[in-house]
């Protein structure tokens, strides 16, 4: 009994339940003061995270699969939950990021400063963590949908935490609409799957032939529903505003983990099929490339710190989809190396993106806490007052750019190598890979440009507006989670050899049986020693220089002077390059997608022109130029039907009654 309790799968279940109830202490205000209750909640969630992580790591090391069944009186068959390597891989970021975000929230969203929202935020954060875990554990369509809906709704309450602000409300509503449109896709997906396999339980891996029309419908439904949740490019419209307006630790959890649940859903659905046609892989690869390039192009134009990071999430989901596409194409052309490299690249990037994006969002939270604004153009010189946040944010920035020696480099290298394998092949697969490789390089290059912009404008230079000068460094409760995330970035970057075994395990558990027998170790495909060696070399070099430099600095005298401004004697902070001016060249190159708004200054004539201003802004072009006009037209067309929705409750009850009677009659016949 005791042994069973400590089995990895039980630990994960216990962690899920603990997370679900972690917000309860705050709901009992007559027992505990809010600050104490928050502390207790955080402690419970941290315990859940530690338990869950222990279970997950043990499971990934053993590679076993456990199934639980729950008796269920609904006519859908039993509710089945299970832990297998794929679930465990996605549970890693769920528990790790949630734990970090919860600790961060203790200081960032302290009960004394946010007394009206702290109950809601803490409670639903626990529920969201538990429901994400439940989604990943679910093994039948109905439990999956239940968990999925709880996750979507709790995320809604978290996004709209400060719902007294109109823009937060708007972001929440947009999120609500899009997430339910995505759920519609799931309502189509599971019945179709039921038709294919004859059961609501998830079919076994590679048990369905992918060539039938039904399979195609399943694939399209999954791509729509899970693509919506993951924020793939034409379906991403909810993502920027939701991530920007949620509290920062919520943004970290949403961007780090919820988006990955969409990726999980797609991978899980794809794992049911064998003989996947080339166009499935091709379309996933294309969607990935489009999201990657367009996501980062939009990010460059942003001047709201969190909106910018949100667009980078779209970019990184694009990279993950590209890895997935490489694996699918590899499956079609029968290249085990391509499959393994693509799939493990995608999986590793899931973990990596969760880590560095959470780090960046938490860092952004500290900056916003200290300056009181999300507007990049008002900041500057933050590194001087927030040295630790600046250092940790810098680690996240280098990691997300895919530069060695951090983790982003490893997963992108895996995908590059997968693409290179593809190029060596023949026919369409080679052409697809040859087109995707430069897209990935462009994404990487633009990401570096964008993070030079963010880091340079926010952390370096001098404060641009006195009122928004940074005031204080973040407390240890905010710094510690960031430190943990930064260390994980460094660890994966320096020792990728440590993750190759679990990656191989997870990849092989979902790839069709044909490849499993080939026994191709990932270690031989990925030059892990190369990465470790060059990483360590780089770090040793940096530390030697740092030590030597500190020594020298002690004795050396260097004079200081005003920065040279082309002979101008008194340079002012506002003469610095701004975020918009930094991005101007790139936004004008991508203007055909970004459609930037420029407000030109007026009235600059004569010897004494009057005061004027210039501003530019990159809107969410897809939403404003595609969806909104189309939906408005649809709204006008359906105006007559809207009369049914008149706000009188009795009539709604009548509708329900009529529906039920009709259903009864149709069944009776």
């Amino acid at each position: 009994m005791v042994q069973e309790l400590f089995a990895p799968s039980s630990l994960i279940l216990i962690a899920t339940l603990l997370a679900a109830i972690s917000g309860v202490p705050l709901l009992l205000p007559w027992l505990l003061p809010a600050a104490r209750a928050q502390l207790l909640s955080v402690a419970v969630l941290l315990a859940a995270a530690c338990t869950g992580l222990t279970g997950t790591v043990l499971l990934l090391l053993s590679g076993s699969t456990t199934l639980f069944e729950l008796a269920w009186t609904l006519p859908f068959g039993p509710a089945r939950f299970g832990v297998d390597p794929l679930s465990a891989w996605f549970l890693l970021p769920i528990f790790f990021i949630s734990g970090c975000a919860a600790l961060y929230a203790r200081s960032y969203w302290h009960a004394d400063h946010h007394c009206d929202t702290v109950r809601k935020v803490t409670f639903f954060f626990g529920v969201m963590t538990a429901s994400m875990s439940a989604v990943v554990l679910a093994r039948d369509g109905i439990s999956f949908l239940f968990a999925w809906e709880i996750m979507a709704l709790s995320a809604y309450f978290l996004v709209s935490a400060e719902d007294e602000k109109p823009e937060v409300n708007e972001a929440g509503t947009l999120y609500m609409i899009t997430t339910h449109t995505g759920t519609l896709g799931l309502f189509a997906l599971f019945p179709l799957l039921n038709l294919l396999s004859g059961s609501w339980l998830f079919p076994a891996p590679a048990s369905i032939h992918a060539s039938s029309g039904l399979s195609t419908a399943v694939f399209l439904a999954a791509l729509f529903a899970f693509g919506m949740k993951a924020g793939i490019m034409p379906l991403h419209i909810w993502l920027p505003s939701a991530h920007a307006n949620a509290p920062s630790h919520i943004s970290a959890a949403m961007s780090g983990v919820i988006l990955k649940i969409g990726v999980y859903g797609l991978i899980r659905t794809l794992s049911f099929f064998h003989d996947i046609p080339l166009w499935w892989g091709g379309s996933v690869l294309t969607l990935g490339a489009v999201s990657g390039v367009a996501g980062v192009a939009f990010a460059i134009g942003q001047h709201d710190l969190k909106r910018l990071l949100a667009y980078h999430s779209i970019e990184n989901i694009g990279i993950i989809f590209m890895g997935l596409g490489v694996a699918l194409v590899g499956q079609k052309v029968g290249s085990p190396a391509m499959m393994l490299l693509g799939m493990s690249g995608a999986l590793l990037h899931v973990l990596n993106h969760a880590t560095f994006k959470a780090l960046l969002f938490l860092g952004a939270g500290s900056v916003i806490h200290a300056t009181g604004s999300r507007e990049i153009d008002l900041m500057g010189g933050v590194a001087r007052r927030l040295p630790y946040t600046a250092l940790l944010f810098g680690i996240g920035a280098v990691a997300i750019c895919g530069l060695p020696p951090l983790n982003g480099f490893v997963s992108e290298l895996l995908i590059y190598l997968g693409l290179f394998q593809g190029i060596q092949g023949e026919g369409w697969a080679a052409a697809a890979a040859a087109l995707a490789a430069p897209a990935l390089a462009l994404v990487g290059g633009l990401a570096v440009a964008c993070f030079v912009k963010v880091y340079g404008i926010v952390f370096l230079g001098v404060p641009r507006a006195g009122a928004y000068a940074p005031r204080h460094e973040a407390g240890w409760q905010m710094l510690l989670p960031m430190l943990l995330l930064g260390l994980l970035c460094l660890a994966i970057g320096l020792a990728p050899g440590a993750v190759t075994r679990p990656l191989q395990l997870v990849s092989l558990s979902i790839l069709p049986a044909a490849v499993r027998t080939e026994g191709l170790p990932l270690k031989e495909l990925l030059p892990t020693t190369m990465i470790s060696l060059s990483g360590v070399l780089l770090l040793v070099l940096i530390s030697i220089v740092a030590v030597w430099y500190r020594r020298r600095l002690a004795g050396s005298v260097s004079s200081e002077t005003v920065t040279w401004g082309c002979g101008y004697q008194r340079p002012a902070p506002r003469m610095q390059y701004s975020a918009s001016s930094f991005a101007e060249m790139l936004t004008s190159i991508f203007a055909f997608v970004l459609k930037p708004h420029c407000h030109q200054p007026e009235g600059i004539t004569g010897l004494f022109p009057r005061t004027s201003r210039f501003f530019s802004h990159v809107p969410e072009a897809v939403l404003e130029l595609v969806y909104t006009p189309a939906l408005e037209r649809l709204y006008e067309r359906f105006l007559p039907i809207r009369r049914m929705q008149n706000g009188i409750l009795q009539q709604y009850v009548l509708y329900i009654l009529i529906t039920l009677v009709v259903l009864f009659l149709s069944d009776y016949r």
Partner: protein, 314 residues
């Protein structure tokens, strides 16, 4: 007599550190001759570096640790790259790290920090330089990767040492794919090392400078390190081109005679390569900065043509 790989590695470091200024000086001498000016002498870069090391540092008021740290990082990472690219021998202890993708990323780190240093001092010039440099670099990266993949297709590996040994041991055949890739590589190398027609290393004119705008505030030994690293980067791009496109003569072991031969071959190739670059630089005017996307776009197209040529013809 055969040398230990570690000795060769050290030799390579020394070679690059020592010869990079001479190479930069040689380019300058050639350029002056072609343009009808009096040349300063091939040793001028050494004198410049020595002079800069002797000078005091003047820092801008707003400079943070990042600004002061970047020159050392730039120099160190460029030196690591020198240990990776096979100059005179393939048999290097660091050759395991000689993946071309990793090499591109190493230059990426240098660029990331140099651009940040440009923004650190809070001036319009630094930001302007960083913005331009990052724009060019991000557009050059796809072309660079495409050219590299085209070359590595022949050797089935992205490992530089693998590429070099396959090339060095195969017979000389004119391959259309490699010709296209070489043309693309030359365009990219001009952009990456900041030469005409992309950037002019000799100018400090506010409106046109790119790389110089980022490092405008550097002085004393900081500037010396950055300048030296810049010369090494120039030499390294030549060495990369030589390794990828005409590595003939490179030693595969540690035999002293062969190494000496490889050194002579390398020097001859560098001398010829510099002539080509000087002709390009003298024959062309600097492009308007808004035309650069077209320049890099044509580099990308050339590289893509190379890849298509590989599929169709080889």
């Amino acid at each position: 007599m055969s040398l230990h790989p570690f000795v060769i590695e050290l030799l390579q470091f020394a070679l690059l550190l020592g010869l990079a200024p001479a190479f930069a000086g040689w380019v300058k001498v050639l350029k002056c001759r072609v343009q009808g000016r009096t040349a300063p002498g091939i040793l001028q870069p050494y004198r410049d570096i020595r002079r800069l090391f002797g000078k005091d540092i003047v820092l801008a008021e707003n400079a943070s640790w990042l600004f002061r740290f970047t020159p050392y990082l730039t120099f160190g990472v460029t030196a690591i790259a020198a240990g990776i690219i096979p100059l005179i021998s393939v048999d290097l202890p660091l050759s395991a790290t000689a993946d071309v993708i990793a090499l591109v990323m190493l230059f990426g780190i240098v660029r990331f920090f140099t651009a940040l240093a440009g923004m650190d001092i809070g001036t319009a010039f630094g930001g302007m330089g960083s913005s331009r440099e990052m724009t060019i670099a991000s557009l050059a990266e796809p072309a660079m990767l495409m050219a590299i993949f085209t070359v590595s297709l022949a050797s089935n590996s992205t490992s530089l040492t693998q590429m070099v040994s396959v090339m060095a041991h195969s017979e000389f055949v004119i391959r259309p794919s490699l010709a296209f890739a070489l043309a693309a590589f030359i365009l990219i190398a001009l952009a990456e090392t900041g030469r005409i027609p992309v950037d002019n290393p000799a100018t400090h004119l506010e409106l046109t400078m790119i790389h110089e705008a980022m490092i405008l505030e550097y002085s004393g030994r900081h500037l010396a390190l950055i300048e030296w690293a810049g010369m090494m980067k120039l030499t390294l791009f030549f060495a990369l081109g030589i390794a990828a496109f005409c590595p003939w003569g490179i030693a595969t072991g540690g035999d002293t005679g062969l190494l000496l031969l490889a050194f002579v071959a390398l020097s001859a190739k560098l001398v010829v390569g510099a002539c080509v670059m000087v002709l390009i630089e003298t024959g062309l005017a600097k492009l308007r900065i808004f035309r650069l996307p077209e320049f890099l776009g044509s580099a990308f197209l050339l590289a893509t043509l190379g890849m298509i040529a590989f599929f169709i013809l080889e």
